[in-house]
Symmetry: C2
Subunit: 110 residues, 2 copies
């Protein structure tokens, strides 16, 4: 567990990205990240167990949706906006716009 595996920009695949996005919990994460915050694992999903949270972060990371980097004891995540926009122009924006419209995927969270 020394550092994270991220697909390169050119390795991003549309079906992997769609797969990563096709989950309400992961969409919540993406929505939060889109605000520009750097999120940690535990503070973002207090309603699921640490192992479940870790699973979802991994799917997003390996799908190429976000970067993970260790900062001391915590792990900070940021959206790979440039890479996603470069490879799939408009995709992220359209999904984020849809998330703004429907409040269904944005329960009250700290």
């Amino acid at each position: 567990m020394k550092g994270f595996v991220h697909p390169g920009r050119e390795d991003l695949r549309i079906d992997s990205v769609l797969e990563a996005l096709a989950n309400p919990i992961r969409l919540r994460i993406v929505k939060r990240l889109a605000g520009g915050e750097e999120l940690t694992c535990s503070t973002t999903l207090p309603d699921v167990s640490p192992s479940t949270a870790s699973h979802h972060w991994r799917v997003l990371r390996e799908g190429g949706v976000l970067w993970a980097r260790r900062e001391g004891r915590i792990i900070l995540h940021t959206l790979r906006r440039e890479d996603l926009d470069a490879r799939f122009p408009g995709l992220l924006d359209s999904v984020l716009a849809a998330l703004d419209d429907s409040g269904s995927l944005t329960p009250a969270l700290p």
Copy 2:
């Protein structure tokens, strides 16, 4: 089995649509439909069984991605482009553009 159940435009949900799109077989279907063709079930997926094909058509239909209408003995499918563009502007275009770039999801088909 008298006619098909389609979600209304306002009932389209981003996670259902992403879920429907997050599958290579269904992406192949969407790509074909985007060409403007009206596709039947069997001619589009000759490499999977009729029941499997029917399953994928159903996921796309119930996710709101396409219209199905009976025309005599066959069922014709068309992309719900207007509805998708209205509810999730840019989503379909970005996915289709990605499908054009990578030939990986477009095996030789009749």
